[in-house]
């Protein structure tokens, strides 16, 4: 068996594939975060909580109907609605406030959402079983170990959702306005387009991305009220690496982050996250705008 640095090549391949799966999930969450930050300039610290909202809405639907395929749109609807409500009732009053105020208010909203979930469901994790079409594992003909089918399918689902996201952003008029808003919201406003309506939609879309990630990942990581916290932190790292406000940056950054974590675990698993933060620090030093971000952007 061929080895690289003493590690079997097959294991390296398996971890690289694993990194792709984790990375796609992070890409989805981060895509949502990056468009919110890019367009609205708001650092959405409730993003992890929106993941949790999606996960629990999906879990409830799954428990009631037994259909995972129904749970996915349910999660999307719940997180979209949560995003709309948050934006209309609270966040939109903070667009002109300093960054610290925006951070605090989204942080507070996140706590409210998480504690509401905890009050309703309790702290125990909820069992979201793997759907029937996701049972079993396969080595796909080239992997050293069988990889769970469901995880392979999440790569496909995440890719499809990211593609849909891409089509909305780059092929529709709405997407054009959103991207223009990311570049220069003030100018868009001056051009007579109701940029605040756009902000509402962007916030909702970003929230929906997090919620979809929540339900997709639920069979892998059981939903608890606190599960979103870690993804919040990781998605921030991803958008720093990929470039704030950049959709391709979020995708590439997510995949890169996933690969860093899994490949580092080949050498020393306790350093997986350390390595990711080290890379983020390096990027901030050498290329602060990230892979695709624009230099000088706030």
């Amino acid at each position: 068996m061929t080895t690289v640095f003493g590690i079997p090549l097959g294991l390296i391949q398996a971890q690289a594939f694993n990194g792709l799966q984790q990375g796609m999930l992070l890409a989805l969450i981060s895509a949502g975060l990056t468009i919110i930050y890019g367009a609205l300039g708001v650092l959405n610290l409730a993003h992890g909580a929106l993941y949790v909202v999606g996960a629990y809405a999906g879990y409830l639907t799954y428990a009631q109907t037994g259909s995972f395929l129904l749970a996915i749109p349910a999660a999307a609807a719940a997180s979209l609605l949560a995003g709309f409500v948050m934006e209309r009732l609270v966040v939109r009053f903070y667009y002109d406030r300093p960054d610290e105020d925006q951070i605090l208010v989204t942080f507070g909203l996140g706590i409210i959402l998480v504690e509401a979930v905890r009050a309703i469901f309790g702290g125990q994790s909820q069992n979201t079983p793997t759907p029937d079409w996701g049972q079993g594992a396969s080595s796909l003909g080239f992997l050293m170990f069988p990889f769970p089918w469901y995880k392979i399918e999440t790569i496909a689902i995440s890719a499809a959702l990211l593609l849909a996201f891409y089509l909305v952003l780059y092929k529709t008029k709405l997407g054009l306005v959103v991207r223009a808003g990311i570049e220069d919201a003030g100018m868009v406003n001056l051009l007579g387009i109701n940029v605040y309506r756009i902000f509402l939609i962007v916030f909702g879309l970003g929230a929906m991305a997090a919620g979809l990630a929540g339900i997709i990942n639920s069979p892998i990581t059981a939903p608890t009220p606190d599960v979103g916290g870690r993804y919040l932190v990781l998605s921030f790292v991803v958008i720093v690496i990929g470039g704030v406000g950049s959709f391709p940056g979020a995708v590439l950054g997510g995949i890169v982050a996933g690969e860093i974590m899994t490949l580092t675990s080949l050498f020393n698993p306790s350093y997986s996250e350390v390595m990711l933060f080290a890379v983020m620090a390096l990027i901030l030093l050498l290329r602060p705008q990230g892979f695709f971000g624009q230099a000088g952007r706030a």
């Binding site: 892998i220 009220p225 606190d226 698993p269």
Partner: protein, 443 residues
């Protein structure tokens, strides 16, 4: 001036003797009167008709389910104390409601398994509420930090769930007490059962949360299983609160191990085990949970749990063997609609044993209470006869080795485990001093 009369005493002599006796009496203290000098929150915390317990049970973080269960155990114990309930008084020996007639009040702070939060919360309980006792932990890191605080502030701290050897080992404290089983005793009790049931030539992969609890369970399990002939092939350390264990699982599957010892606790145990099942790792490796968390079986389900060996501090089927256990399970189930897990049990037990020590000492003053603990008297409890070891403040108590039941063998929806062995405490306790405990001073 006094006249005549046989042996009459002059006024001067009387006054002088009287003065001398008075001075002597002030200096001498009769043996039966206790030292009442202030220490810690005594006597400030015992003025009035109530005393305050400061609790630190997690309600957020990966251990929040266990913390919630533990808090209910404390609440039930405190309710029983205040109502003079027969179950708790059979352990405490109290005749009046409360402890020494004083009502018990309490408050809980969410530590989120973070030692800094715990220290802040307990400090507040001590300085603002004059807590006479602080208790509660699911994370050993919290227990160790809180114990140190208790020792500094001279307030007794009772660990909740704490599996690390260090809590009554190198980090033991005069003002800290641990009643649950822990890494050393769990491994010592489990290893013979594993060797007998699974064989002596196994290759083991360890999944270890990277903090004091994980590392000491790893060390103890290695010690006892390698002595039986098992070979450790890989140790995967993961951060507390990890969500995706696929990288660790892939490494473990590549190592050629045939046994997976999962030291993770709480939500981490659930996620890592479910993911192991998804990867088919559990077809390749036999799962062992050396320190099974409350609700673990409940959350992963009997399909995964079947045939899994582990240890636990308490399981509700003990009610068939012990009257006090039966009463505890019944009362808890009545109050909270589910059968208590071991977080609740250890909370109840620690509270009852504390109340007993105070009642026997006749005072809340911590020095006397600690000395009462250290007498090491045999106490009859929900888990049979137990006693405190004075040299490290560890309760000598049984360890229960459990095996997961097949779904078809479950007689009720909570019937997840068979208790395959009840190992007496003396058989598995570390020799005194082996874990490096040096208790500090009383004052």
């Amino acid at each position: 001036m006094m006249q005549g009369g046989p042996k009459s005493i002059s006024r001067r002599t009387l006054l002088g003797t009287g003065a001398m006796l008075g001075v002597a009496a002030a200096g001498l203290r009769p043996a039966w009167s206790a030292d009442e000098s202030p220490i810690g929150t005594f006597p400030a915390g015992t003025q009035g008709d109530s005393v305050f317990f400061g609790l630190g049970c997690e309600s957020t973080g990966p251990y929040s389910a266990q913390g919630g269960d533990m808090l209910k155990g404390y609440e039930l114990a405190i309710k029983h104390l205040n109502e003079n309930n027969g179950l708790i008084t059979s352990i405490t020996g109290a005749s009046k409601p409360g402890i020494l007639g004083k009502k018990v009040t309490y408050q809980n702070a969410d530590t989120a398994s973070n030692p800094n939060n715990a220290v802040q919360a307990f400090s507040r309980f001590i300085s603002q509420n004059k807590a006479i006792m602080i208790s509660g932990s699911v994370s050993s890191a919290v227990a160790i930090a809180a114990q140190k605080l208790g020792d500094r502030e001279k307030v007794i701290y009772l660990a909740g769930i704490s599996g690390s050897n260090e809590t009554t080992g190198v980090d033991c404290q005069r003002y800290g007490f641990r009643a649950c089983h822990f890494a050393y005793t769990a491994a010592a009790a489990l290893a013979p059962v594993l060797a007998k049931e699974l064989g002596t030539t196994r290759k083991v992969a360890y999944l270890v949360p990277d903090y004091t609890y994980g590392r000491t369970v790893l060390a103890s399990m290695k010690k006892f299983t390698e002595a039986k002939g098992w070979k450790t092939v890989t140790e995967q350390l993961c951060p507390l609160g990890s969500t995706d264990y696929s990288s660790y699982l892939l490494n473990m599957m590549a190592s050629g191990a045939d046994t997976l010892v999962n030291i993770c606790f709480g939500a981490d145990a659930v996620n890592s085990t479910k993911q192991a099942a998804q990867f088919g790792a559990l077809k390749q490796m036999k799962l062992v949970m050396p320190y099974a968390a409350p609700f673990f079986a409940n959350e992963v389900g009997p399909d995964i749990m079947e045939g899994v060996y582990g240890t636990t501090e308490f399981w509700w089927t003990l009610e068939d063997h012990n009257d006090k256990a039966k009463q505890f399970v019944t009362e808890f189930n009545k109050a909270y609609n589910y059968k208590p897990e071991w977080g609740a049990h250890i909370a109840y037990l620690q509270t009852a044993l504390y109340a007993r020590a105070v009642e026997k000492a006749g005072t809340f003053r911590p020095v006397e209470v600690i000395k009462e603990y250290e007498k090491g008297e045999k106490i009859d409890t929900t888990i049979g006869e137990v006693y405190w070891r004075a040299s490290d403040h560890q309760l000598v108590r049984p360890v229960y080795v459990i095996k997961g039941k097949a779904k078809k063998d479950m007689k009720s929806k909570d019937d997840y485990y068979d208790i395959v062995a009840t190992v007496p405490g003396e058989q598995v306790m570390p020799p005194e001093g082996e874990l490096g405990c040096k208790l500090g001073s009383y004052t």
